[in-house]
């Protein structure tokens, strides 16, 4: 049997990412072997399988890859935007674009990240750049 030994840190990628968010940092992993960026946080590189994923600060910039408006009645909070943003590092993430009417979010729009909170959990949102 091969042991994991010192390959992996005591805290998993998930905790490390959340700890970063709580400090106000949006961090992203980059594979030391193939140089691809990985998001959401992983244990192994999804491109090459390497365990050598190194944290770095995300640029926090990206482009709207797709967007939609979820229709809710006014009493249920009204319409909401839902979007997938392609980070400038490459990976995509689900998010919501804030501070804009849902229908005004367009595919290809440049956006920048900000950290918000929902139900006590820090989350990454974006607004128009």
């Amino acid at each position: 049997m091969a042991e994991t030994g010192t390959t992996f840190a005591a805290d998993g990628a998930e905790k490390q990412f959340r700890d970063g968010l709580n400090r106000g940092e949006f961090n992203i992993q980059q594979c030391a072997s193939c140089k691809k960026h990985v998001f959401y946080p992983r244990t192994l590189c999804t491109n090459c399988g390497s365990p050598k994923l190194v944290w770095k600060r995300a640029a926090g910039t990206g482009t709207v890859y797709s967007t939609s408006t979820e229709r809710y009645k006014p009493e249920a909070g009204g319409d909401k935007n839902i979007a997938v943003v392609q980070l400038d590092e490459g990976p995509r993430m689900l998010t919501r674009i804030t501070d804009i009417a849902p229908a005004d979010v367009k595919i290809g729009m440049r956006v920048t990240a900000h950290i918000g909170e929902a139900d006590g959990i820090k989350l990454i949102y974006f607004r128009k750049a």
Binding site: Y40, S66, S68, E70, I82, R92, L94, D119, L123
Partner: protein, 462 residues
């Protein structure tokens, strides 16, 4: 070499319950009713069942529950849940278990009270299957519809598909449903009705979304040798392919390409067939964008032209490539997971039992299950007895011409030159038939096998 699973197993029985509002029934009762019907259809009994393949949205020990409820003591049991495609994916598992002698009679079954549960506010056992997915669930997206909507918007952005083209999908399936007495929604439906209906999640209106039904469905499989002695005309499993691309929607690499681009070539490769060999298609139409993507990714329509394909009526009754002949999940039935129904309609079409909606002369049918948020695609290709064996394959269709030509060249070495020349002069189809017969008779088996292998390889590459 012909794939070892090709044509080795067959669907011998199918069973359906009533569809719609069935508040007086439990999910297990619906599953058991459909199982009884499918076994009766096959001329088999519950006591013959020794392979059980089921799947539930939230019940972790569902296979155990079903085995106990039916009183079955299976030697092969499986409850893999890859979403609504699970029941097509299960055909792969059942075929492997049957072919390897791990079981002899496989029952794939499902029952659901989705509609009654929604009406009565009964919470789903096991909760929301889309809950607890980190980096997705925390944003509380409207799921599953939101993920398909994001895909549809990206597709429309890249390929310029119009709202009315998208609407033609629901309209096409409604036309089929009008020919199916069992379908839940049979009233008229126009492009305008769909485009102008209440918006749920852009670009989807109410009619872009599938139904929510109570229903049960079941399917029985055996090895091909046993199938031939049973009550119904066997429908052979020629090819099965499974493809998995992601779980949460943001991880789908290209929003315009589904895992059908993997499952399709795998299924066609096993079957030794190509898209143009298929007579009728049944796909999981959870949302109107699905059939467009699936037809493209399975190789039936060029990427970006799926919308026009529906608008031009090619998939509708009388069209060149009938799709969702039962009315689909949008107009026939959709009990939470629809995977059973694509296979059952494919089988019914190949039996030639579907009345007004029958596709004349259907010999090859493709069923595609969709699971999760476009996450898993499972593609099954079924065929009648005529599609079994290399000869049947090469004689049946013009698409097999190349195989025949190659086989004919090899055969020419042994067969009299005259016969080959004469055959070559005749129409492609006729020639194919004649040559193939000669090939079968005179050519060494190797040549035929080699030719078949080449088609399989080509299908893989697509």
């Amino acid at each position: 070499m012909v794939h070892p699973l090709r044509g080795q197993t067959a669907v011998v029985g199918v069973g359906l319950t009533k569809f719609g509002d069935l508040p007086g029934k439990t999910h297990l009762e619906l599953l058991a009713e459909a199982s009884y019907a499918a076994l009766d259809d096959a001329g088999l009994k519950l006591t013959d069942v020794d392979g059980l393949f089921v799947s539930s949205m939230g019940r972790v020990f569902h296979p155990l529950q079903v085995a106990e409820y039916l009183g079955v003591k299976p030697s092969a049991i499986d409850g893999t849940n890859v979403g609504g495609s699970a029941f097509v994916n299960a055909i792969q598992h059942a075929a492997m278990a049957l072919h390897n002698g791990v079981c002899n009679v496989a029952l794939i079954a499902y029952g659901s009270t989705s509609r009654s549960d929604r009406k009565s506010g009964t919470p789903r056992v096991g909760g929301n299957p889309n809950a607890g997915v980190m980096y997705q669930s925390e944003y509380k997206p409207m799921l599953p519809v939101g993920s398909y909507a994001l895909v549809a918007n990206r597709y429309m952005h890249e390929y310029g598909m119009t709202r009315d083209q998208l609407s033609s999908v629901a309209v096409t399936f409604r036309k089929w449903a009008q020919l199916n007495p069992r379908a839940e929604m049979r009233g008229p439906l126009t492009i305008e009705d769909v485009s102008r209906a209440r918006m749920i999640c852009d670009p989807f209106t109410l009619y872009d979304c599938c139904l929510v039904s109570d229903a049960g469905a079941a399917l029985v499989m055996t090895r091909a040798d046993r199938a031939r002695s049973l009550k119904q005309k066997p429908v052979y499993m020629l090819g099965i392919g499974s493809g998995t691309s992601h779980d949460q929607i943001a991880q789908l690499a290209d929003f315009t390409v589904t895992a059908c681009a993997m499952s399709g070539p795998r299924a066609f490769g096993m079957a030794g067939l190509k898209p143009k060999d298929v007579d009728v298609i049944e796909v999981y139409d959870a949302f109107s964008i699905n059939p467009i993507l699936f037809l493209e990714d399975l190789g039936f329509v060029k990427k970006g032209e799926g919308g026009a394909f529906f608008t031009e009526g090619h998939a509708a009754p009388g069209g060149k490539l009938p799709v969702n002949t039962n009315g689909g999940g949008m107009s026939c039935v959709h009990p939470g997971m629809y995977g059973m129904f694509v296979s059952i309609e494919a089988v019914e079409q190949l039996r030639g039992n579907t009345g007004a909606r029958q596709v004349e002369g259907a010999e090859v049918a493709l069923a595609n299950g969709n699971g999760g948020l476009l996450s898993n695609q499972s593609t099954a290709i079924f065929g009648t007895a005529a599609t079994l064996g290399a000869e049947a394959r090469t004689t049946k269709r013009a698409s097999a011409k190349k195989v025949v030509k190659k086989a004919a060249k090899k055969a020419a070495k042994k067969a009299p030159k005259k016969a080959v020349k004469k055959a070559a002069k005749k129409s492609a189809k006729k020639a194919a038939k004649k040559v193939a017969k000669k090939v079968a008779k005179k050519a060494p088996k190797k040549a035929v096998k080699k030719a078949v292998k080449k088609t399989a390889k080509k299908a893989k590459r697509r």
